[in-house]
C-alpha cells in the first residue's frame, strides 16, 4: 500500500517528478566512469563529416553545378561559370553599388562619378568632383526632421546628436554606417513584408517559416560570416547581407503578428465593401497593421546598428570598423567614443522611427505649398547656403576644410579622459577587482565548468529529456533529445558543454537580477514605467558595446564575458517581469488586500504565480541574449563553441562548414531550452486558466 502511495505522489506532483529526475541524474553522474571508449560517457563523433559536406556543397555550388557560358570581356571568349556564382556575384555588385552611391553622395569626392563613368574619362577630367554634404547641413537636417516628427525635444535630440558626432570627428564613419543602414533597412523591409504577407495568406508557408526563423534568430551572428565570405566575398555588401539575414526575421514576425491582430470583422467589412484581393491587401490589411509593421521597421534599424561591428569583420566600413580597430589595439577611449556614436545614432533613429509610427496624417489641413513643405524648403536652403559657404572658404583653410568635415584626428576628443579614468579605476581598484575576479574564477566558474565537463552524456540526456517530458509529453522529450543527439554525435560536445555552462550561469544570474529588479520597481505604475524606459534605453545599445567596459575591468577572462552577458540579458528578464506583474488583475490585488496579506505574501502568493508564465517568456529571451553574448565573447577569447566559430573566420576556405555547423549547434541549444520553457509556461497558463 505504501509503495502505491509513492507512485501516486510521483504521478501527480511535478516537484516530486523533478526530484526523482535530479536523483537519477546525480546517480548517473557519479556512476558512469569517465573513459573514452564508454559510450555512456561520450558518444562517438559519427557526424564528423558534416562541416566537410557543407563545404563541398558550397564549393560545388560556386564552381561546378549548373554551368553557364559567360562572355569574358578581358579574354574575349566564353567561359564556363556556375550559375550560382554568377547569381551571388550579381547580388554582391548590386548591393555594393547601392551602398557606394549613397555613401559617396553624402561624403563627396570623385568616387561617385567613378561609379557612373569609366576611369579613363575621369582621369582626363580630374576637376570633376561631387561636393560633400557639409556636416552643418546634416545637423540642421537632423534637427528639422526631429522637429517635424515630434516637436522641439526630438529636434534637439537629432540636432545635438549630429553636432556631437561631427565635432568629435566621427562624421565620416557615421555617414558610412548610416549609408549602410539606409540601404540595408529597405531591403529587410521589403523582404520581411513580402514573406510576412505570404505567411499570413498561406498557413502552410507560415508553418514552414517558423522553424527557419527560429534558427535564424537564435544562431550567433558570427556563424553567418564565414559562409557569407565564401559566397559573396569581403566588403560592405557582405556586411549588408549578414545584416539582412539577422534583421529580416523580426520584420517577418512583426508583419504576421500585425496582420493576425486585425479583427476578422475588419477583413469582412473590407470584403462586404466589395474589395478585390489586391484592394483588400493594400487598402485594408496593410494599413490596419501599420503600427506593428512600423515597429518591425524600428527593430530592423536597431538590428542593423547592432550588427555594424560584426559586419566590419567581413569588410563593412564605418563606426563598427573603427570600434573594432580601437578594441584590437586596446584603445578604450577611442572605442568608447565610437561606441557612443553608434548608441547616439541608434537612439536618434529609434526615436525618429517610433515618432513616425505614431504620427497620424491630417487629411483636412488646408495648407499652402510653402506651409506644407516648409521644413523641406528650409533644409534645401541650408544645404545650398552651407555648401556655398564651405566652397568659398576653401581657400581660407589650408589642407582641411573644416566646414565640410572634421576629420577624426582633428575632432574634439575625450578619449584621453576616458583612458585616464580607466587607468585610475584600474590602479585604485586593481586589488579588489582582481581578487573578485580571481575568486569568481577559481571558486565559482572554474568548479562549475569542471562540473559541466564531468557530466556523462547519458546524464545530460536524462536531465534534458526528463525535464522536457515532465513539462510536456513524450513528443517534447523526443524533440529535445533529437536536437541534443545531433550535437553529441559531433566532435564538439565538450565545447558545447562549455557554452552551456557559460550560458546557464548568465541565464540564472540575469533572470534573478531581472525578476528582483522588476519585482521591486514594477509594483508601482510609475516605477514600472521608469524601469521599462531604462530597458528601452539599454536595448538600443548594440550588443558589442557591453563588452568595452568589462574587458577593461576584468581583462580577457570568462568573468568579462559573463558580466557582459548578464547585463545584456537582464534587460528582457526585467521587461517581462514588469509586464507579468502588470498583468495581475486589480480584483486579485483587492482580494489580497482584503485578506490582509503582507507585501511579501502578496509577492509570493499572488503576483509571482500569476506573472509566472510571462516571466518565463522573459527567461526564454534571456537564453537567446546570453548565448549571443557568450558567443560574441569569443572575440575576446573564450574557449567554447564561439572560439571555433570565430577561428573559422580566418579559414575562409574550409571555415564555412565549421561555422555553420557550430552556429546551428548553438541555435539548437537555445531552441531546446525554448521548447522546455515554453511548454512549462503554457502548462502554467492552462493551470491558471489564462490560456
Amino acid at each position: 500500500m505504501v509503495d502505491r502511495n509513492y507512485i501516486g505522489i510521483v504521478k501527480n506532483s511535478k516537484p516530486a517528478q523533478f526530484g526523482l529526475l535530479i536523483f537519477i541524474f546525480l546517480t548517473l553522474y557519479f556512476l558512469i566512469p569517465q573513459s573514452e571508449n564508454n559510450y555512456l560517457w561520450r558518444l562517438p563523433s559519427l557526424l564528423k563529416g558534416i562541416p566537410l559536406a557543407i563545404n563541398n556543397v558550397i564549393f560545388n555550388a560556386l564552381y561546378e553545378w549548373f554551368p553557364l557560358k559567360v562572355w569574358d570581356p578581358v579574354f574575349e571568349m566564353y567561359e564556363e561559370k556556375a550559375a550560382f556564382r554568377e547569381f551571388t556575384k550579381a547580388v554582391s555588385q548590386g548591393l555594393l553599388f547601392l551602398i557606394t552611391v549613397v555613401r559617396e553622395l553624402l561624403l563627396g569626392g570623385d568616387k561617385i562619378i567613378d561609379v557612373f563613368v569609366n576611369d579613363a574619362w575621369l582621369k582626363e577630367n580630374d576637376w570633376l568632383s561631387w561636393p560633400a554634404l557639409p556636416w552643418t547641413a546634416t545637423t540642421v537636417g537632423a534637427f528639422l526632421l526631429g522637429y517635424q516628427l515630434n516637436g522641439i525635444r526630438l529636434g534637439l535630440l537629432g540636432g545635438i546628436g549630429a553636432l556631437y558626432i561631427s565635432v568629435f570627428g566621427n562624421y565620416v564613419p557615421s555617414i558610412q554606417t548610416l549609408s549602410f543602414v539606409l540601404i540595408t533597412t529597405p531591403i529587410c523591409f521589403v523582404l520581411g513584408l513580402s514573406f510576412g504577407i505570404w505567411g499570413y495568406l498561406d498557413k502552410k508557408v507560415e508553418t514552414a517559416l517558423q522553424p527557419v526563423l527560429n534558427v535564424m534568430q537564435t544562431m550567433p551572428q558570427f556563424a553567418y560570416l564565414v559562409p557569407i565570405i565564401a559566397l559573396f566575398g569581403l566588403g560592405d555588401h557582405a556586411g549588408s547581407i549578414a545584416t539582412i539575414i539577422i534583421a529580416t526575421p523580426p520584420m517577418i514576425r512583426n508583419t504576421i503578428l500585425g496582420l493576425k491582430r486585425i479583427s476578422p470583422e475588419v477583413v469582412e467589412a473590407g470584403l462586404m465593401s466589395g474589395c478585390t484581393k489586391p484592394q483588400l491587401l493594400f487598402q485594408v490589411l496593410i494599413p490596419a497593421a501599420r503600427r506593428d509593421i512600423l515597429n518591425g521597421v524600428n527593430t530592423v534599424i536597431m538590428q542593423c546598428l547592432a550588427m555594424v561591428v560584426i559586419a566590419s569583420f567581413v569588410g563593412a566600413k564605418g563606426l563598427g570598423l573603427n570600434l573594432k580597430i580601437a578594441l584590437n589595439s586596446l584603445k578604450i577611449g577611442k572605442a568608447a567614443e565610437a561606441g557612443l556614436c553608434i548608441v547616439i545614432i541608434a537612439v536618434i533613429l529609434d526615436r525618429f522611427t517610433k515618432a513616425w509610427a505614431d504620427k497620424q496624417k491630417n487629411y483636412f489641413e488646408n495648407l499652402s505649398f510653402i506651409q506644407r513643405y516648409k521644413f523641406l524648403i528650409i533644409f534645401a536652403f541650408s544645404i545650398v547656403i552651407f555648401s556655398i559657404v564651405a566652397f568659398i572658404s576653401d581657400g581660407y583653410f589650408d589642407k582641411i576644410n573644416y566646414l565640410y568635415v572634421i576629420p577624426i584626428e582633428k575632432g574634439l576628443t575625450i578619449a584621453h579622459f576616458i583612458d585616464a579614468g580607466v587607468d585610475w579605476v584600474w590602479e585604485t581598484f586593481f586589488y579588489s577587482l582582481n581578487s573578485f575576479n580571481k575568486f569568481l574564477l577559481t571558486q565559482v566558474l572554474g568548479p562549475m565548468k569542471q562540473a559541466y565537463l564531468g557530466m556523462p552524456v547519458i546524464a545530460t540526456f536524462t536531465l534534458a529529456m526528463g525535464a522536457a517530458f515532465i513539462v510536456g509529453n513524450i513528443r517534447t522529450a523526443l524533440i529535445v533529445g533529437g536536437m541534443l543527439l545531433f550535437i553529441a554525435l559531433s566532435e564538439y560536445w565538450d565545447r558545447a558543454l562549455i557554452t552551456m555552462y557559460m550560458g546557464s550561469f548568465a541565464v540564472i544570474m540575469a533572470s534573478l537580477n531581472g525578476i528582483i529588479l522588476g519585482s521591486i520597481f514594477g509594483r508601482t505604475e510609475r516605477g514600472g514605467r521608469i524601469l521599462l524606459s531604462f530597458c528601452d534605453f539599454f536595448e538600443t545599445f548594440p550588443s558589442f558595446v557591453y563588452l568595452i567596459p568589462v574587458i577593461f575591468l576584468f581583462n580577457i577572462t570568462d568573468t568579462s564575458v559573463l558580466i557582459a552577458a548578464i547585463v545584456y540579458a537582464t534587460v528582457p528578464a526585467t521587461r517581462y517581469t514588469v509586464w507579468g506583474l502588470k498583468s495581475v488583475p486589480l480584483s486579485l490585488h483587492e482580494a489580497g488586500t482584503m485578506s490582509g496579506v503582507s507585501a511579501f505574501q502578496r509577492w509570493t502568493n499572488i503576483e509571482i504565480p500569476i506573472a509566472f508564465p510571462t516571466v518565463m517568456l522573459g527567461v526564454n529571451q534571456t537564453v537567446v541574449f546570453s548565448l549571443q553574448m557568450v558567443i560574441l565573447g569569443a572575440l575576446i577569447g573564450t574557449e567554447d563553441l564561439g572560439q571555433i566559430i570565430f577561428g573559422a573566420l580566418s579559414r575562409t576556405k574550409d571555415g564555412a562548414g565549421v561555422a555553420l555547423t557550430l552556429g546551428i549547434f548553438v541555435s539548437l541549444i537555445a531552441i531546446c531550452v525554448d521548447v522546455i520553457v515554453r511548454n512549462w509556461a503554457e502548462d502554467r497558463k492552462k493551470a491558471l486558466g489564462l490560456a
Binding site: E265, V266, A269, G274, C275, T276, Q283, Y363, F364
Partner: protein
C-alpha cells in the same frame, strides 16, 4: 414576385470531412454524432425566404449559428450544402468577380464591433465602399457627406474612429453599409456592444432609417426584446436549427417548442400583440365614437379601450374599413392574465 433572399436546405459544417459526413447523413444531421467525428454543425438545414422590404430578425444565443447563417448568405463563408438565391441567382455558384460585383451593387453589412478601418477618418470610412468601386474622390466624398448627415454625425467627418463613442462608431458603420445604396442590408448584432440606453436610441434611429429606406433586411441578435421590437418576422435558432420562424405575435402566442417557450414566457403580451390577434368578429353593438387599428400594439391603445368601457370597432388602416371589434374584457385578460 420572387423573394429577395431564398435559402433552401442550407448547411454549414465546420471541420475536416464535413462534405463526406454530410452526404452520408442524407440530410438528417445529428449535431452530437458530428461532434464525435470532429465536426461542428453551424447551420443545420435552414430553409426560408425573405421578401422585398421585409425585415427578418434571426434570434439565438451565442453558438446557435445565427451569425454563421448570415455569413453564408453574404458568402463570407461558403455554405457546405444548399442553395442560397439572391434575386434568383445562386450566390454559392458565383465566381469571385461576380461576388465582388454583387457586394458592390446590392449588399451592405453592419458588424457587432463596428469594424471601422482604424487608419481612415469617419468620412473616409464611409466613402471606402464607393472608392473601391472606382467612383471619383469628389463624387464619393459628396455621397459620403450625405450619409454623414443621414446618420446624424455632421461635424465629425474628420474624426478618427478611436475618437468616437461606441454609438457614434456604429453610426459610421451604418452609414458605410448604406453608402452604395444596397437593396439588401445585413446587420450582425449591430447594437449588442452598446450600453442599454444607447442601444434603445440606436434601435429608434434604425426604425426611422428603415421607415425612410425600406430595405430588405436580415438582422441578427441575441436579444429577444430587440427582435420583438424590430422584426416583421423572427427566426429563432438553436444548435444550428431554426426552431420557429413566424411573426412576433404568433411566436409569443404559439411557441412551437419548449425552447422558444422559455423566451416567450416572461414577455409582456401587451407589448408584443396587436389588436388583430385578440379581436372578435364585427359587432353591431360597437361604439360609434371610437375605433382602433388592427395593427396597433395592445399596450399603446389599452388606456383608450379600457376608459371607454364599450365594445370598440377595429379598422384596417389601409382602407379604413371595419374588420372586427374589440371587447375591453379581452384587453384586461391580456394585461392581467386569467
Amino acid at each position: 414576385m420572387s423573394p429577395t433572399i431564398s435559402c433552401n436546405s442550407v448547411y454549414k459544417i465546420f471541420g475536416p470531412n464535413a462534405n463526406r459526413l454530410l452526404s452520408e447523413s442524407n440530410g438528417s444531421v445529428d449535431a452530437k454524432k458530428f461532434q464525435e467525428a470532429g465536426c461542428i454543425v453551424g447551420v443545420n438545414n435552414a430553409s426560408f425566404d425573405v421578401n422585398k422590404g421585409e425585415m427578418l430578425v434571426v434570434m439565438g444565443l451565442s453558438g446557435s449559428g445565427k451569425s454563421t447563417l448570415l455569413r453564408c448568405i453574404s458568402r463570407l463563408t461558403d455554405a457546405t450544402a444548399g442553395k442560397i438565391l439572391i434575386d434568383g441567382d445562386d450566390i454559392c455558384l458565383m465566381n469571385n468577380k461576380q461576388l465582388v460585383e454583387l457586394r458592390r451593387e446590392k449588399m451592405g453589412m453592419v458588424f457587432q464591433n463596428f469594424a471601422l478601418l482604424p487608419h481612415k477618418t469617419v468620412i473616409e470610412n464611409i466613402a471606402f465602399p464607393l472608392q473601391v468601386k472606382g467612383i471619383s474622390t469628389d463624387n464619393s466624398m459628396y455621397k459620403a457627406l450625405e450619409m454623414v448627415e443621414l446618420v446624424g454625425l455632421k461635424g465629425r467627418e474628420n474624426y478618427f474612429p478611436r475618437e468616437l463613442s461606441g454609438g457614434q462608431q456604429q453610426r459610421v458603420g451604418i452609414a458605410r453599409s448604406l453608402a452604395v445604396e444596397p437593396d439588401i442590408w445585413f446587420l450582425d448584432e449591430p447594437f449588442s456592444a452598446l450600453d442599454p440606453l444607447i442601444r434603445k436610441e440606436m434601435q429608434d434611429e434604425f426604425l426611422r432609417l428603415q421607415g425612410v429606406l425600406n430595405k430588405t433586411i436580415m438582422f441578427v441578435t441575441h436579444d429577444f426584446d430587440e427582435a420583438l421590437r424590430l422584426a416583421d418576422r423572427i427566426a429563432i435558432m438553436k444548435d444550428g436549427i431554426i426552431e420557429q420562424l413566424d411573426t412576433p405575435g404568433n411566436i409569443v402566442l404559439n411557441p412551437a417548442t419548449d425552447y422558444v417557450k422559455k423566451f416567450t414566457e416572461d414577455v409582456p403580451r401587451e407589448k408584443v400583440l396587436r389588436i388583430e390577434s385578440i379581436m372578435d368578429a364585427q359587432d353591431p353593438n360597437a361604439s360609434d365614437t371610437l375605433e382602433v387599428s388592427k395593427d396597433d400594439i395592445i399596450e399603446t391603445v389599452a388606456e383608450k379601450i379600457l376608459n371607454s368601457k364599450e365594445i370598440i370597432k377595429v379598422t384596417d388602416p389601409k382602407d379604413k374599413s371595419i374588420v372586427g371589434s374589440i371587447n375591453p374584457s379581452k384587453v384586461i385578460k391580456v394585461l392581467f392574465g386569467g
